[in-house]
């Protein structure tokens, strides 16, 4: 890292500072009242420096990131403090002044590139818009420049990729194209708002490397917003830890990561250290669930070919792989949503009907599912009482006061206060609480096997860790078996007994956790394992060097 050299070189003189926020206060409008969501935060950013903003959802990090552009979201307002960008106070600047700055001197890279690009225009047209609008360069120059930047960001076919539409490139490529777009006017400051959160680990590492590289090349200052401390420690020179709109801790990256001063920062660092104690080999010959040589397709597109796996009683099988590897499709075959073209699914040695419509109520009950997005997995118009109560009524014919008592018991089991939560609508719950309700709904059916489809990937790390611990405790208490679908190897290390690694619709490796996690690995498993960010600030450089050396 050349961070120290850079900062010492640039501490002399105030002109070095590109952005200063002093006593920044931002309010949000909810329930007819203005609530303060950022309580007087100070930020100083020098030219060419990368500052990491880290915290959980609701910490105000995105809000601060947008405020750096003098912008507040709908329903928010900047209520106090100063935002000085290169001598201009953005809180007092007129709309015209702000418009001249945004896109040309301050740029923004959003979390979801797929949502931020206009699907109706080609990438290069969207690239050229800002430089041409701001009168920085004519269209032809901008196009040449775009191709140059696409090359520097290691996009395949830099001359041609710009002429594709957003849906014709992958998520990681799109994110890099967006970074190129932000660079178009060679801004002094770029705000990166969780640019890799929506990506697979294997893609994330490429995007991280590309961003890091280009920011260094052009010596651009950047605000890097993320909830992942491991990621930010690769990117940032300095880190600010935020919580509930307040600053918790601030400092150079290495000291923060190696010797945090505050408890909250320590909690963030300690995340992903949860480990399930090892269990004995499964007893009995007949597995609870056996997937036998399953081949399946969506229409004519083949997705799975010859997938086999066993899930034994009271054990957790983690299915790992990147997007499109067929792990969720395997779950769909098991639940009967997608009948396989070949192969079958056995439950306790008995073949299950390929489609859920023909399975008995009892078969359905014993196999429950928890989804990735708790927002869409529970009906927003039903109360917690009805969401959890329905499986009780439906499968077990429990009604009236007995049902009420059982729902309360389930709420206690998932560590939510029954009196407080039983009458709430999902809209009145946080993401983690919603996921707990989903777990309670699955538990209400008294299942033997629960399929968890990326249950923690939509959640903050601390919340995700709590959910994992809860699932583990429930397994210990109730003797459940889990099929745990995830792309996050940290989760796998935490909770799995056995691991199944999938790639392009096939199982590449499977076996007990210890066996899979100790070398020698299958090549793809190796790639997955080495792509998981570590808290070490040198990790990214080291991995890239290793990979370069390997080639």
């Amino acid at each position: 890292m050349n961070a120290e050299a850079k900062t010492t070189a640039k501490t002399d003189g105030q002109s070095d500072v590109i952005l200063t926020m002093r006593g920044l206060r931002i309010e949000g409008y909810a329930d007819e009242v203005w609530h303060e969501i950022v309580h007087g935060v100070d930020v100083t950013l020098r030219r060419g420096e990368v500052l990491g903003l880290i915290g959980e959802s609701g910490a105000g990090k995105s809000t601060i990131g947008l405020a750096a552009m003098g912008f507040a979201r709908d329903g928010c307002r900047i209520s106090g403090g100063q935002i000085i960008f290169d001598g201009i106070d953005l809180t007092k600047a007129s709309d015209d002044e702000l418009r001249a700055l945004r896109g040309s001197r301050i740029a923004y890279v959003a979390q979801s590139a797929a949502a931020a690009f206009n699907p109706a225009h080609r990438l290069i047209d969207q690239y050229c818009e800002a430089p041409v609008q701001h009168g920085i360069m004519p269209r032809s120059e901008a196009e040449a420049d775009a191709k140059d930047l696409y090359g520097r960001l290691q996009l395949p076919d830099p001359d041609g990729i710009g002429f594709r539409y957003p849906h014709q490139v992958s998520g990681g490529q799109l994110q890099r194209a967006m970074t190129a777009m932000a660079m178009a006017c060679r801004p002094d400051l770029i705000v990166f708002d969780e640019p890799t959160t929506a990506l697979d680990v294997t893609t994330q590492i490429e995007v991280l490397a590309a961003i890091k590289n280009i920011v260094q090349q052009f010596d651009t200052a950047a605000l890097y917003i993320t909830h992942d401390l491991a990621v930010v420690s690769q990117m940032a020179d300095r880190i600010m830890v935020l919580r509930y709109g307040n600053l918790v801790e601030e400092g150079e990256t290495r000291p923060i990561v190696e010797d945090p001063q505050k408890d909250y920062t320590r909690d963030l660092l300690a995340v992903r250290t949860f480990r399930k104690p090892p269990v004995d080999e499964p007893e009995g010959d007949i597995p609870l669930l056996r997937v036998e040589n399953v081949t399946a397709a969506y229409g004519k597109v083949p997705v799975l070919s010859g997938v086999s796996m066993d899930i034994h009683e009271k054990r957790t099988v983690a299915v790992v792989g990147e997007s499109g590897s067929g792990k969720s499709t395997t779950a769909r075959v098991i639940t009967g949503l997608l009948p396989p073209s070949e192969g079958r699914v056995l439950y306790e040695g008995q073949a299950l009907d390929p489609t859920y419509r023909k399975r008995s109520k009892d078969e359905l009950r014993r196999l429950q599912m928890i989804y990735q997005m708790p927002d869409t997995a529970i009906n927003p118009r039903q109360r917690v009482r009805d969401i959890i109560g329905r499986p009780l009524e439906f499968y077990l014919a429990i009604r009236g006061e007995e049902k009420e008592a059982r729902v309360r018991q389930l709420l206690q089991m998932i560590e939510l206060d029954p009196d407080d939560f039983i009458d709430r609508h999902p809209g009145e719950l946080s993401g983690g609480q919603k996921q707990r309700i989903c777990i309670a709904r699955a538990l209400a059916a008294e299942p033997e096997l629960i399929i968890c489809d990326e249950v923690t990937s939509a959640l903050d790390q601390l919340v995700a860790e709590e959910i994992l611990k809860l699932l583990q405790r429930l397994q210990d208490d109730l003797g459940l078996a889990y099929m745990f679908i995830t792309h996050d190897l940290a989760t796998v290390k935490a909770i799995a007994d056995e691991i199944v690694v999938m790639l392009a619709g096939e199982v590449v490796e499977q076996g007990p956790k210890q066996e899979i996690l100790t070398p020698p690995h299958h090549e793809y498993t190796e790639l997955l394992l080495s792509s998981v960010p570590e808290m070490d600030p040198d990790w990214l450089d080291r991995v890239l060097e290793d990979r370069a050396a390997a080639i």
Partner: protein, 395 residues
Amino acid sequence: MTMAVAGSAFAGQSSPWVSRIAVAAVHFFVIVLFLGSVQTNTWAAILGFLAIHAYSVAVLVYWSRMARSAAGDTVIVALTVEYLLICVLFWELFSLWAWSTFFGLVLVQICAFAMVRYWRELRHAPPTAWFGMVVILIYVMIAATAPIIAPFGETEIVASEYEPWGGKFLMGTDNLGRDTLTRIIYGARNTVGFAFVTTVLAFVLGGFAGLLAATLRGWVDQALGRLVDILMAIPSLIFALLILTVVGTSIMSLVVVIAVLDSTRVFRLARAVAMNVVVLEFVEAANLRGEGLWWIIRREILPNVMPPLVAEFGLRFCFVFLFISALSFLGLGIQPPTADWGSMVRDNATLISFAAGDFQLALTPLVPAAAIALLTVGVNFVVDWFLHKASGLKE
């Protein structure tokens, strides 16, 4: 019996038994008092009714302050049932009013209940929405109490034709010598009432078919969709005129024909909105649980498509209302001697040419037209507000 229902609803919260018994006792006492005080005197009966209205609303306000929970809807149902029984008692004991009046009053009461129930949201409604709600409420009350407040009978010929405004006939008389004000009041009941029934029918038909098509997809969707396409391909006014000419212009056929024609639009909307809900994971979860079609439509999908459907109900109501008026104006709508705003405009249209002589008399055909316009504006104000709110809630 209703007391028991209301009582058990109160039991949902943890208030002590004493207060529950006290509430029940006061409740009972008040009702007995009202029943006892009413003579076979119309005014006393009206006062009695108003008092019971006010009282039930007060009970509800008390409840909504006490707690906000699922028990609320049970309380409303209980109070409405109880109110209905009181109305039956009135009717049995004193034979005061016709059934229609009685139903009208129940409708008013339900409106009042709904307003208390949703007071939290209503409180922040913009002035335009309040204006709309007040207009609608006044119309409903006029329609409900028409036989009481109208000075003459609906079809009664009380004087010579085209009497001037003022005196005994506040708005003069029409082309047959019937009191215009009376006809306007009864017109509210007929025009608004038929439009309401028709719209409800259109929504039941179209809404159900739309949800069914979205949930089942496949050939059911195709069959229903193409059928609707065929119906929508023919201009609706011409189609309605054609059918009504064939089947005759009874109220029944009028309601059914317009409802079927309008249900095609409802079908399209319900299907489109439900399509977005059907693909969500909670519907998949319900499917995997093994739930039946009826449960999935009613409990998983319907509550999530309600806001746009309710907004559409308001708009559709206006269209139906104008459609009936237009048909009446053309002579194929509600038939004489039933009072109806559309046909009143047509019957008195010639009076406009007297504007130079008797300005007020010339206004006569404009009064029902204005009544139509005002209600349309009012409903649209409310719908606008509701749509705005519903879209805001989605975040």
